[in-house]
């Protein structure tokens, strides 16, 4: 027990006595994350503002007088340029070059066709042309082609039938303010609940990765591991001391990241998740916190064991970093799978190592995980971590693996 305590203390001291390491392990990733998210959010916001403030340039070919009058009455905010059929090629080139955003092409004799329409006759077609590669053009298409032309169509229809209400059989939720029935607690953590399992699993692994490879492979490489191996401490105590310290370091770093994320996410991501920030607030019950805490300890234990196992078989930190990368990629993919999977997971999913822990974390935040599923995941995660720990202890006893 003394050996575990001393090794644990030394590894913690190695990190916490070094201000540069404390900054680079715990704070730099948070600062980078906040900076990146803020920049992305700012850029998106700027882009939206820019598109919103942009006055669309719209070519209108064969513009009917009624459309011109409609535009005058409705005071639409875009610059329209009238062209005839022969100007279409130039207009299309301007769209391609980004000089104009949209072409609305009315057919010849549009008003006659609309005014003199009889059942069975061909319905006149208004064509629009835009460039989806250009943001201004895309926005003009969505706003004008969908909005202005639809409003114009309604105006013409009203002229044809007199009272539009006659064409309305029923409305949907026109004055139903209570249409949303949801559990506020569940709803409050929806967005964060979708992102947290992804970020936590990645951050737990990433937090342990750099330190873990140096802690074992680095010590082998520098020859400092041998000094521990000739001390009277059991090999298992050395392994446990190192894995526990790795768990603690990765746990602390993830905790800092998660706190930073929960605190900063509403500020950083407002423009990314829509107008409201309800989905970014999170309220956890005591039971949820306890379940999450125990699960995070188990995940940190498993990840630390995986990294330690990989490191113990590597001859150098560089080699360990290379070996650990595929495991990190696997964790990334599993996190993404959990983030974007819809529908209820099957019972079998809770037996898949790594994937089950991300699923259960998502389930705890969304309050849709059973105690059986939680128990299976927790026990399996701890058991696999324990087995890996046994393999590491065995490897520590091998002179070939330890390179002594």
């Amino acid at each position: 027990m003394n050996g575990i305590k001393q090794i644990f203390g030394k590894e913690m001291a190695r990190v916490f006595k070094d201000k540069k390491m404390v900054f680079s392990v715990f704070f730099l990733p948070v600062l980078i994350m906040i900076l990146i998210m803020t920049i992305i959010s700012g850029l998106i916001s700027n882009m939206e503002d820019d598109i919103e403030s942009h006055e669309s340039v719209v070519y209108v070919a064969n513009e009917p007088a009624s459309f011109k009058a409609f535009l005058g009455d409705s005071k639409q905010e875009f610059k329209s340029r009238r062209i005839d059929g022969s100007g279409m090629e130039k207009a299309k080139k301007d769209i391609l070059d980004g000089k104009a955003d949209l072409i609305i092409e009315f057919p010849d004799g549009f008003e006659d066709a609309v005014g003199g329409y009889e059942a069975g006759k061909t319905i006149p077609q208004v064509k629009t042309y835009y460039n989806p590669s250009e943001d201004y053009s895309q926005a003009a298409y969505e706003n004008i082609s969908g909005g202005v032309l639809e409003a114009y169509r309604q105006t013409l229809l009203a002229g044809r039938v007199g009272d539009l209400a006659q064409l309305t059989v029923f409305t949907v939720n026109s004055d139903n303010e209570d249409m949303i029935i949801q559990d506020d607690e569940k709803a409050s953590g929806k967005a964060i609940g979708m992102m947290l399992p992804y970020f936590i699993t990645i951050l737990l692994f990433a937090g342990a990765m750099g330190i873990g490879t140096d802690m074992i492979a680095g010590e082998k490489e520098r020859g400092t591991m041998a000094s521990l191996l000739v001390s009277p401490v059991k090999r298992s105590s050395i392994v446990l001391g190192k894995v526990f310290s790795l768990m603690t370091i990765s746990g602390i770093s993830s905790l800092i990241y998660v706190i930073a994320m929960v605190v900063c996410a509403p500020l950083m991501m407002k423009s990314m998740v829509g107008s409201g920030t309800d989905g970014l607030n999170i309220n956890l019950s005591v039971q949820q916190v306890v379940m999450l805490g125990a699960l995070l300890v188990a995940i940190a234990f498993l990840y630390s064991s995986i990294i330690a196992l990989i490191s113990v078989f590597a001859k150098s930190t560089k080699e360990a970093s290379t070996y650990v990368m595929p495991a990190y990629m696997l964790v990334l993919v599993i996190g993404l799978l959990t983030m974007f999977t819809t529908g209820d997971p099957t019972q079998t999913d809770y037996y898949i190592p790594l994937y089950n822990s991300a699923l259960v974390m998502k389930g705890i935040l969304g309050q849709n995980v059973t105690m059986v599923q939680y128990g299976i995941t927790l026990i399996e995660t701890l058991a696999i971590g324990g087995v890996l720990l046994g393999v590491i202890v065995k490897a520590f006893q091998s002179e070939k693996v330890m390179n002594v």
Partner: protein
């Protein structure tokens, strides 16, 4: 205090090592049927050229590697059956074993003291004694990476002796040291011997073995080819100094130089 019975250590070479050793045989016998006894109150020297098997023998004693065959008893404890008890009773130092350079000497001394369960008051006394003797006090709070080779070696020696072990095993202890530091190390080893400890050193420096060791075991190609005091070795080989004695034994074993 140390009893080695028919120690054999065979390494399995990988392809790269076979290429480097220019051999097609994947099995390399580093130590071959070596038997040795060393007792308290003596400095026993393992003398031999590079690759003779000195370090391998010392590593087997220190439980870093396992013997392929044979038995080793350290203070009555068999190395494979009671490795922790063996490690408790020895202070082991080799050039491949280094202190974590991110820490200072003071921290490392305390850390290894705690690993050896040395009580705090005893630890403080040991620190005072060893730091004073090796002149470590001046750089005790400097990070080890900032120290010179000599300072690092002094620090490593002090740390390896933190628990006041009965058996001290040093592999080439003066290697790379300046003459003054080397002298302070050999003087301290003599002091340990005088205090009743068993000191085992490996060396390929004839003058060091001649002056320092009470008994010398000459190892060539994993075999102990001779053992005795300096006088006994000189008499055995009919030579006047250890260097000549060693070459006589080497020629006898290898046929030529």
């Amino acid at each position: 205090m140390i009893e080695i019975k028919n120690l054999t250590k065979i390494y399995k070479l990988n392809k790269k090592q076979m290429l480097e050793s220019k051999t097609k045989n994947p099995m390399k016998t580093a130590v071959d049927n070596l038997t040795l006894d060393a007792h308290e109150g003596e400095i026993y020297g393992l003398l031999g050229p590079n690759g003779a098997g000195k370090t391998t023998t010392l590593r087997c004693i220190a439980t870093l590697i396992k013997p392929t065959e044979g038995e080793i008893y350290v203070g009555g404890h068999e190395v494979q059956k009671e490795p922790e008890a063996v490690r408790e009773s020895i202070g082991f130092l080799t050039s491949d074993i280094k202190l974590d350079e991110q820490f200072d000497v003071d921290y490392m001394f305390g850390f290894f003291g705690r690993l050896h369960n040395v009580p705090q008051d005893v630890l403080a006394k040991r620190k005072e004694e060893l730091f004073t003797y090796f002149g470590i006090k001046d750089f005790a709070h400097k990070q080890i990476k900032e120290l010179s080779t000599g300072m690092k070696q002094k620090a490593a020696i002090a740390v390896s002796l933190v628990h006041n072990p009965d058996i001290v095993i040093f592999d080439e202890p003066t290697n790379g040291l300046d003459i003054i530091t080397a002298r302070s190390v050999t003087d301290y080893l003599r002091k340990l011997r005088d205090d009743g400890k068993l000191v085992i050193v490996s060396t390929h420096i004839m003058s060091e073995a001649e002056k320092l060791c009470d008994r010398i075991g000459v190892i060539i190609e994993g075999n102990k080819v001779a053992e005795g005091t300096l006088a006994e070795l000189l008499k055995m080989t009919g030579t006047d100094d250890l260097e000549d004695a060693f070459f006589e034994l080497y020629k006898e074993r290898k046929g030529e130089l």
